[in-house]
Structures are given as C-alpha cells and as structure tokens.
Amino acid sequence: MFGRHYSIRANIQANGWAFVAMLLSWAGDMLLSLPRDWSVVQRVVIALVPLLFGLLWVRSFARWVRGMDEMHRQLSVEAGLFATTMTLFVVTIWHVLDKTGAFQAGFEMTKLHLDSHFHTASFPISLVGALYFLGYPIFNRRYQ
C-alpha cells in the first residue's frame, strides 16, 4: 500500500472523495448541532451531502479497482469485503454497547463520550478506509 509503488496522485484519485465526505460530515454534524431554525429541506441537504460524496468515493474506488490487473483486483475486492463487513460489525457492536449502557458506565470512569461518534458519516467512511488498509496486507500474504 505505502510501499515503493505508492503514488499520492493515485491515492487522491481513488480516495479523494472520502476525505471530502469526512470533512463535510464533521461540518454538517456541527451545523445540525447548532441551535438554529433550519427548515427540514436544509437539514436533509446538510445530512445527505456527505453521503452523496461517500457514494462518489465508492464510484471512484470501483473505477480504480477495475483498472487493476486480475490478481490485484481480486485482492482489493477481498480486502474491500473484509473492510465493509468488519465496519458493519464494529458499528453494530458500538450501538449494542451504547444500548446496554456500557458507554455510560465507561464515561463515569474515563470521561470519554464514546457514544456520540457513530452518528456521523465520517465514522463508517474512515473505518472502511482503515480496515481496507489493514485487510489488504493480510490477503496479500497468501500470494507471497
């Protein structure tokens, strides 16, 4: 991934929209938290814009994978499936722990607001990205 073939240009081509989506998600989260009288349409637009950029990321990532050779494409699909599946697990576990009251108990000890992070689009997007980078070398080991 970050070896001698690493290209910042290719990375931006494949993942540029993900960074935009995460930034817009943080901004949107802050805007929706403000005590202002937004109309429903404005609130829906603020909420959905990061998700639309997330879809653009999926599109550019799919194009990037389609431009690979057969073996790298296979590895990328496997790493991508690993990343999305594990993200679903993490997001579900996060929600379950929140529901059971584990974060409330943890907050009393650590003063960390762990319950508030999965409500934004940036959380699953960054998690998918991080797990892809974790999964790729794992699947790549089979071919070395």
Partner: protein, 162 residues
Amino acid sequence: MKDMNNRPNLPEEIGFGKLTLWSSWRGSMKAGAAWMFVVYLSDIPGAWLLDHHQDWPLILRILIALVPLAASLLYVRGIAQWIRGMDELHRRVTLAAFLFGTTLYLVFNTGWPLLVRAGLFTALNLTRWHLDQMPFFNCTFTICLTYIFSGLGYSLINRRYQ
C-alpha cells in the same frame, strides 16, 4: 461418484440468481445457515430481555447483547468457507455481489439515522409507519437486508457473464 461429492459450491445453493434444483437446505447449511438461525433465535429475545430488564447487571446485559454478534461472526466465517469452495468465476462474482450488498447496507445504515436526525420522517408524517425506528443495528435485520442486497448484486453482476 467421487467427483460428484467434490463438486464446487454454487451461488444458487443459497438462492442467488435463479432458484434451481441446486437450491437446497444442505447447500444453505454449508453456507452457515445454522449460525444464521442462531442469530435469529438469540437476537430478538435478547433485545426483548434488554428492554424489559434494565436493572440487570451490566456484564449480563453485555453478554446477552453480544451472543447474536458472536453467532453472526460464525455465520460470516461459514459464508467465507463456502465461497472458498467455489470455482474461480463463481467466487469472483459472489465476492463482488457480497461487496455490493454490504456497501449498499452501509449506505442505508449511515444515511437513515441522518435522515431521522434531520427530521425528514417527522415532517413527512412517516413516523406513523415507524420508519424512523428501522432497526439498522439489529443483527437479524442486517443479515436479511444484506442477503437481499447481495442477491440483487449477484443478479446484476452475473448478467455480464451471460
């Protein structure tokens, strides 16, 4: 006879694509269906217990909540082993179909709570059908919808090869 026993797994065994003679309980069981039923049987009763016994100790509540998740992991392991038993072409199409399914589910999983937060369902009076309470973080719902999306993805991707 030996060749018949060692034949590669087929996506149709779990109902992807056309439902054919290959669709079978045996094939589904190979693909982790037993763990899927464990998820179904532990998830909804577990959620009921958590809702109705909020005074139970935290450790017990966490254990009850994690049982369906552990079974889901075993279900995913079963699916992965089943896919590994396919021939090259079916494996490629099925992996792409599951990637399509999980990605689409993640889009819904992320977007729906944002729409609830934006107040769309309240404004359109869709809360009477409880659309604001879609259980996107429920294991049963996740498995069912991911399966439907993956089946849809399989049909779309498979068309390229026909």
